[in-house]
């Protein structure tokens, strides 16, 4: 099963009541790839991730995991199918310990059988979580919480990891650290679909990228192409040709 897409999103519409958030969005993530999804606030990036994760069912179009249609699945069955979302704002179980949070990540039957081995490798990636194992998750620092959120997702044995703004609210050094970890996770064979405010870092990590604006995919291509693209540079990378001043 080495080749072929893990995730295919085809012509997906999504609504919040009468408001349409996604308009015919299509994208693809292949085995072992890192795909970035960039765009302004309110473009529908989070909605798209939530649709894939089974938290927001699309009103039209289909979502396939390894060729199987899953757009009507509840979220926990998407987890069993090997796709795990690290939601925006981390959403840890703050009153539970670090270890319990990790345990919860392996709740699906597929992951539960192997949870002790998975735990070992997760703690290898995040040694700080081992030190804090019996601490309540709410008492961790922001960066540690993000690591726990990623660690909890890894406990579900994902083939595809969906990340929603992993750098949000974190210090630059911590962000570097998180991105290093994402690269490492990807090198272990996990595909990544990354929504990120920090477009430069996202494009440097990604192989391919999509630009979402007002609920539509307006641009896609290889990450290097997009890094060179003038529109992308102007809108998302902070290049601004204001009055001849080049940064």
């Amino acid at each position: 099963m080495r080749d072929g897409p893990i995730l295919e999103v085809d012509g997906v519409d999504a609504h919040y009541g009468d408001l349409q958030a996604l308009w015919g969005v299509s994208l693809r993530v292949d085995q072992g790839e890192v795909v970035a999804l960039i765009g302004p606030n309110g473009a529908g990036k989070t909605t798209l991730l939530r649709a894939v994760a089974g938290l927001h069912h699309p009103s039209a179009g289909d979502i396939k995991l390894r060729g199987q249609r899953v757009e009507t699945f509840p979220a926990h069955r998407i987890v069993t199918a090997g796709v795990v979302l690290v939601p925006e704002g981390r959403r840890l179980f703050g009153g539970m310990t670090v270890l319990e949070n990790l345990e919860m990540g392996a709740f699906s039957h597929r992951a539960r059988a192997e949870r002790f081995e998975t735990l070992r490798s997760a703690l290898e990636i995040f040694p700080v979580l081992a030190e804090r194992a019996s601490q309540r998750a709410a008492t961790l620092s922001g960066g540690q919480q993000q690591m726990l959120a990623v660690g909890r997702a890894l406990m579900g044995l994902p083939e595809l990891l969906l990340l929603d703004e992993p750098s949000l609210g974190l210090a630059p050094l911590v962000v570097e650290n998180i991105f290093g970890v994402l690269r490492e996770i990807n090198e272990r064979g996990v595909a990544v679909l990354l929504v990120e405010q920090n477009a430069r870092m996202a494009l440097e990590l990604a192989t391919r990228a999509y630009v979402l604006e007002q609920g539509r995919v307006v641009l896609h291509g290889s990450a290097t192409e997009l890094l060179e693209d003038e529109r992308v540079q102007e809108a998302y990378l902070g290049y601004r040709g204001v009055a001849g001043v080049h940064l």
Binding site: A53, P74, H76, P87, R91, F93
Partner: protein, 292 residues
């Protein structure tokens, strides 16, 4: 004021309070996890009481032994009620969910109450075991066996619930769902199943409480609302998130009521709980033992 009866009142307060605790912990569990206030909780307790009464009357099953039957009976009833009624409201948005679950709860309470009148008449009933009326006497204080048994069973039930929630995988998934159901789904937890188990567990706890009420207290089809209100007061006193906190708040209410009999007379016994309820809501809305 004559302070002589204080120790005896305290002891009885603790006994009654332990019952309040058990009655409340089921309500708190369902509310904390599903955000559904089951106003028919007291009626489930009433059914548990009748189950115990009939087991004793028909087959002479000791009420403490019958816990092994009444809890499972109410558990199964909880499964059915959740599947048939409450599972349809939990996914609605917050406001509609509150309204609809209250309507369902009140409707269910009326149906169960009238069903009980039809089936078992409106008479007050009570289990009178061979050891009812007997007790230990220590330092001039009476400890009736039925009440001691009730306290022991209550503590055992609370402790078992605590261990279940803290130590088992399913228990942890219930706590996770209570904190953030979406995050629980994303971890691979079927929140639907968690709600089902939680409601059934809450009902089973009502069954336990009802069984304990049937020994040494009275049951009748109409007792439901009184117990729902008691349980609600205790839950507000305690705040959510801690099984032992709910139990402690139950004991606190029991003791406060008992002492009020001496201080302001038995006529105002029921007022004490409601006054405490208001004071806590005003001064510490998160409850005495609640987080945040």
């Amino acid at each position: 004021m004559n302070l002589e009866p204080v120790p005896q009142l305290l002891v009885f307060g603790v006994f009654v309070g332990a019952l309040y605790g058990v009655a409340a912990v089921g309500l708190a569990l369902v509310f904390g996890v599903m955000r559904v206030l089951n106003v028919a909780h007291g009626e489930l307790l009433m059914i548990g009481g009748y189950a115990s009464f009939w087991l004793f009357t028909l087959w002479r099953v000791d009420p403490f032994v019958s816990l092994l039957a009444t809890a499972p009976i109410l558990f199964v009833m909880g499964l059915a009620l959740n599947g048939g009624l409450f599972s349809h409201v939990v996914r609605l948005d917050e406001e509609t969910k509150i309204k609809n679950s209250l309507l369902i709860g009140f409707g269910l309470a009326l149906i169960l109450q009238n069903l009980a009148i039809q089936l078992w008449t409106a008479d007050e009933r009570s289990v009178t075991a061979a050891y009812s009326g007997l007790g230990l006497q220590l330092f001039g204080i009476v400890f009736p066996y039925t009440r001691l048994g009730g306290l022991a069973a209550a503590l055992l039930g609370i402790f078992a619930l605590h261990v279940f929630l803290q130590r088992t995988y399913v228990g942890k998934s219930i706590r996770a769902t209570a904190e953030d159901w979406e995050a629980a789904e994303l971890a691979g937890v079927s929140v639907r199943s968690v709600y089902l188990i939680t409601f059934a567990l809450g009902s089973a706890l009502a069954g336990v409480a009802g069984t304990l009420v049937s020994v040494g207290f009275t049951i009748a089809p109409s007792i439901g609302l009184t117990w729902t209100i008691k349980a609600l007061v205790v839950v507000v006193l305690a705040g959510l998130g801690n099984v032992f906190g709910v139990f402690a708040a139950g004991v606190l209410l029991g003791v406060a009521e008992a002492l009020s009999v001496l201080a302001i007379g038995p006529a105002y016994r029921e007022v004490v709980g409601l006054a405490l309820f208001l004071v806590v809501l005003l001064l510490r809305p998160q409850g005495l033992f609640g987080a945040r």
